[in-house]
């Protein structure tokens, strides 16, 4: 893990509100695993501004990319950086997704920018699978061509019906699960909490493992401040409090003790 000055190599606009930032950061990029993240100190925010965490979307030996949505002052400032500008990047952080699928079919479930770490995962998995991707509207659906190009089965749902099926991404998941004789799956999911929880419930019913990437507000990114905790259940039934930044952000769905049981 490193904390280094990285140079902006490129900044691409993807859909409206979404951009891809490419950084020259070999020390981090060369070690990055899918599901890991970088913690960025964004140049131009006042010196006391906290860092912002972003999943790694692409990594080569020398460069790494993030795919981000502009949602607040941090990401707004990030979107203003231009090639040649520098920022400080800490990473790779977190545990990453397990790459071993144990002969199960990888089913990736993504909401919004949650597709970023899953896209990286698809490139590093030893087999093809299916991507279920949801968003509010067509602009929130990203990276589908990449998956198609890799030979993945891609299914889209939008809340307003502007692309793919009308509804939540779980509608797609339910339809697929309802089909008799579907193959045994391993789920990998990244998106809002509600979506993760829906995936967890369905995976449990199906008896499938589900690896969820949790999105908790973070401060230190290294496990020191305890801002990002999540209660987990051990196999013996006792619980402990994990730090999402260091012990996660990826957890198996069955471990997670959801906060408001329903």
């Amino acid at each position: 893990m490193h904390d280094i000055s990285a140079i902006v190599h490129a900044q691409h606009v993807l859909n409206a509100g979404y951009q891809c930032l490419v950084l020259d950061a070999p020390a981090i990029a060369s070690m990055a695993q899918p599901g890991q993240f970088v913690h960025l100190r964004i140049t131009g925010l006042e010196p006391a501004a906290l860092r912002r965490p972003f999943s790694i979307y692409r990594a080569s030996d020398s460069q790494l990319s993030i795919l981000y949505k502009t949602v607040g002052r941090g990401t707004e400032q990030l979107s203003r950086l231009r090639p040649g500008d520098t920022l400080t990047a800490m990473g790779p952080l977190g545990n990453g997704f397990p790459l071993e699928t144990h002969d199960r079919w990888p089913v990736l479930v993504a909401g919004g920018y949650g597709v970023a770490p899953l896209s990286f995962l698809a490139r590093r998995l030893n087999r093809q699978g299916m991507l279920l991707v949801g968003g509010r509207t067509a602009a929130d659906i990203l990276c589908t061509e990449e998956f198609t190009a890799l030979g993945w089965d891609v299914r889209v749902a939008t809340m307003d019906g502007s692309q793919g099926t009308h509804g939540l991404v779980t509608t797609l998941l339910d339809a697929w699960l309802a089909r008799p004789g579907h193959p045994a799956a391993t789920f990998y999911a990244c998106g809002p909490d509600g979506m993760l929880r829906a995936v967890a419930e369905r995976a449990q019913l199906a008896g499938s493992p589900a690896w969820l990437s949790l999105d908790k507000h973070m401060v230190c990114g290294v496990g020191a401040c305890l801002a990002c905790v999540q209660r987990l259940r051990k196999p013996d039934g006792t619980t402990w409090i994990a730090r999402v930044c260091r012990d996660g952000p990826i957890f198996e769905a069955g471990e997670i003790v959801w906060e408001h049981p329903r």
Binding site: A48, T88, A224, L226, V229
Partner: protein, 315 residues
Amino acid sequence: MNTPPPAAAAARPDLAVTIAGIQMQNPVTVASGTFGYGKEYAHLVDLRQLGAITVKGIRLQPWDGNPLPRHVEVPGGMVNAIGLQGPGVAGFIRDYLPFLREVGVPVLVNIWGTSVEEYAEVAERLSDVEGIAGLEVNISCPNVKEGGASFGADPRTVAALVAAVRRRTRLPLIPKLAPNVPNIRPYAQAAAEAGADALSLINTIPAMVINIETRRPVLANKVGGLSGPAIHPVAVKLVWDAAQAVKIPIIAMGGITGPEQAIEFLIAGASAVAVGTATFIDPGTVLRVIAGIEDYLVRHQIQRVRDLTGSLLTT
């Protein structure tokens, strides 16, 4: 023949300080709760260079802390309500102390309880263990309902608590005082008279942030404590006031982001300083502060950092 050393080959300044009998190679530690148990930053910071390591607050038993969200960013800093999550005394000794012993710099353990008895028992339990240099007694955490701040709110309760802990341990005791008092002097004096070996100040300032769209507090705990650059001038004032009131040394913290703020604290009367929130933003801060203090001493031809302590000119 007695040749004086040539003036050009100026000796490196002496950064060592002794606080409450604890020998520190330099006057810079980390603020409790902002550096975990040292381990978490070991990949990014050469821990052996620190003056001391101050760990996250612990009580007798493991403690869950507050629900999330536990923090929110504000101009000039952040407001946190972690709520003193920790592994308890036994968990700390088992899971973290062995690593810290290996590092080889003095370890200050931040302790708290919900009763005077619990504080005293935590102190006692930590007294027999190898590798603990001193106890920072947190009587000012704004983020737990019982304990913490309630003991720090009155000089009499400060005195009673410190005296009770004093009876149960020989470890150096460093009460950590609350910033939100009309006058810090009686608090500092009460702690000193009750047997404190040094003082730590300041803790975070009680604060609150409201989400105006949901009309709810942003923090699950409703209120939290403000830290970061925003509080530095407030901390300097309190350190200066406390330093006038007591002879025991002061470890100062609050809004240090570089050597400048640390040096202000030393000039105001602190013997050592702690880097807190800034570590989250730049883990290299603490080493930058150490190097920057040294540079300053060289530049100002001050041989020993302890000569800087309390050197404020006011006439």
